[in-house]
């Protein structure tokens, strides 16, 4: 019974919540993006479906599900079908190690008895706490690139292939600087586990962004590039490549790519919150709710910080024009990477002298 509750029921419920909530969240992020960009451009944005367009995501999801599913004749059918799944699954798996908050206490029926006996059960607000957390995220999210490359290749068409090549080159390049920018934080926290990293920032509210501002800026830039967002959205530059790697995809398969992209955005933003902004910790040691509701408050602060960074993505997209491809590569390799390595060396020396 304990085995069932600990290893099947509890993770199962959490996974179910994430799998159900994430698509809904993504739908409303899209609405948020359309609305905010519209406001920045002095437009109204979607207004027709529901009050102020609030039901637009649901209408869009229904439309995508009902659309005809087209597989091009020259496409490699199996890989064409597999590619969106390969892109989507890693983005979801990664969410399993992200700590959304500390523990909450939930009444759980003790055994299969009637009337049910409830016991208080401490449930942490993350699926699992791996001791290789950060490494796990980097490893699994690097599989997502494969989905994009495969989609571009399997479409058997020129624009998708070019888009996929760009995307792969970009993601592989920026992954390097991204990895190096994380190392500074790891040196300070002394652990790869995301929960340990948050706990290491708990003392007096000293978030790692104060110690690692350079690493944070590099991580922010690389995070935008990793998720193929503007101003680094060259893989899907519509003026040159139609829609990049997903040109030939339609209907539900296309929406899987869309979901993967937004899920990756959420993952990068939550990594940013966890690594640099104290995860679920309240700013300035501010506590609004009593200790018994600490879990809910933690989740609130996490979501608030998360939304700020997601907003920053939208803000970037509305503000900056797209990079040129050679600029993108030279910024990644010649500017961000050397700075990130210098930051790692400096941090290592400082940690050695101040703590050793």
């Amino acid at each position: 019974m304990d085995f069932f509750v600990d290893y099947i029921l509890e993770p199962g419920v959490k996974i179910g919540v994430i799998v159900l909530v994430l698509p809904l969240l993504v739908g409303y992020l899209v609405l948020m993006e359309r609305k905010f960009i519209a406001f920045m451009q002095v437009r109204l944005g979607p207004m027709r479906v529901g009050p102020h367009g609030l039901l637009q995501p649901i209408a869009d999801a229904l439309k995508l599900m009902l659309k005809e599913d087209i597989v091009p004749r020259g496409a490699d059918r199996l890989i064409f079908i597999m590619a969106p799944v390969v892109a989507l699954v890693p983005a979801f798996i990664v969410l399993s190690v992200i700590p959304f908050g500390p523990s909450i206490t939930v009444p759980v029926p003790e055994a299969l008895a009637w009337p049910p006996q409830f016991v208080e059960r401490e449930v942490p607000l993350f699926i699992t706490d791996l001791n290789i957390g950060v490494l796990f995220i980097l490893a699994v999210s690097s599989i997502g690139v494969l989905g994009i490359i495969l989609a571009g290749w399997a479409s058997n068409s020129k624009y998708p292939l070019l888009g996929a090549l760009r995307s792969a080159a970009q993601m592989v390049s920026y992954e390097v600087a991204l990895g190096f920018s994380i190392i500074g934080v790891l040196l300070l926290a002394g652990s790869l586990s995301l929960v340990d990293i948050v706990n290491a920032q708990a003392g007096d509210g000293h978030w790692f962004v104060l110690y690692q501002p350079v690493a944070f800026v590099i991580f922010w830039i690389c995070g935008v590039a990793e998720t193929n967002r503007a101003p680094f959205d060259l893989p899907e530059a519509e003026s040159e490549l139609v829609a990049g790697f997903h040109t030939e995809y339609s209907g539900f398969r296309w929406s899987l790519f869309f979901l993967a992209e937004y899920a990756a955005m959420i993952v990068v933003a939550s990594l940013m919150v966890t690594l640099f902004f104290g995860g679920w910790l309240a700013p300035f040691g501010l506590t609004l709710l009593p200790q018994s509701l600490a879990g809910i408050e933690g989740a609130f602060w996490f979501s608030a910080k998360l939304l700020f960074f997601i907003y920053s993505y939208i803000w970037f997209r509305a503000s900056w024009p797209r990079y040129r491809y050679d600029q993108l590569m030279s910024v990644g390799w010649k500017v961000l990477l050397p700075i990130a390595i210098a930051n790692v060396v400096l941090t290592a020396i400082l940690v050695l002298f101040l703590e050793g």
Partner: protein, 177 residues
């Protein structure tokens, strides 16, 4: 018991996809089976409680090397590759290599644990702090082999740069599209 079941699941996937990897004619399909093999090897590492190794296996092989493989394969038109002469017609060399490999494997299986020389500390069960432990062993006990390996890699990188520098666009050895 559970560990054994998990091992056999991953091992079966690894072996079957390794066989498919060398028998497919389409290079991209081969690459996919390579991905399946590498991921299930990572799974075997996990079942041996070597989380760090599993993570590194995925990040280096699937995220790095395989992506570069597919990157290159994609640039080659598939219909031409289908009719190209392949490297699997060298029966004699293959037979010798395979025989040596099978010999090694048989020796290892018969000898069991005695076939390998384990350093003393490696026999400790790696339960807590896997990555710290790997770091300590790699950078303290085996620093020299580690440095030798990194110098080898550096030489290979410089070699690759020199080779690719040769073909200047518009120069004598210009790359033909």
């Amino acid at each position: 018991m559970l560990q054994l079941v998990i091992f056999y699941i991953f091992a079966t996937i690894a072996v079957v996809s390794a066989i498919l990897l060398i028998t497919r004619r389409n290079a991209v399909h081969s690459a996919m089976f390579l991905a399946a093999t590498l991921l299930s090897v990572a799974g075997v590492f996990l079942s041996l409680r070597a989380e760090f190794l599993a993570g590194v296996q995925v990040i280096v092989y699937v995220g790095g090397i395989l992506v570069l493989f597919v990157f290159v394969i994609m640039l080659v038109p598939t219909d031409r590759v289908m009719f190209e002469r392949r490297y699997n017609r060298q029966g004699r060399i293959a037979l010798i290599t395979a025989a040596v490999l099978v010999g090694e494997l048989v020796y290892a299986v018969i000898q069991g644990r005695d076939a390998f020389v384990f350093p003393e500390e490696a026999l400790e069960p790696a339960v807590e702090g896997n990555s710290q432990w790997v770091g300590t062993v790699l950078y303290q006990n085996y620093l020299l082999p580690f440095e030798i390996a990194s110098i080898l890699l550096l030489v290979a990188i410089i070699g690759a740069v020199v080779l690719s520098k040769k073909s200047k666009p518009g120069g004598e050895n210009a790359v033909e599209e």
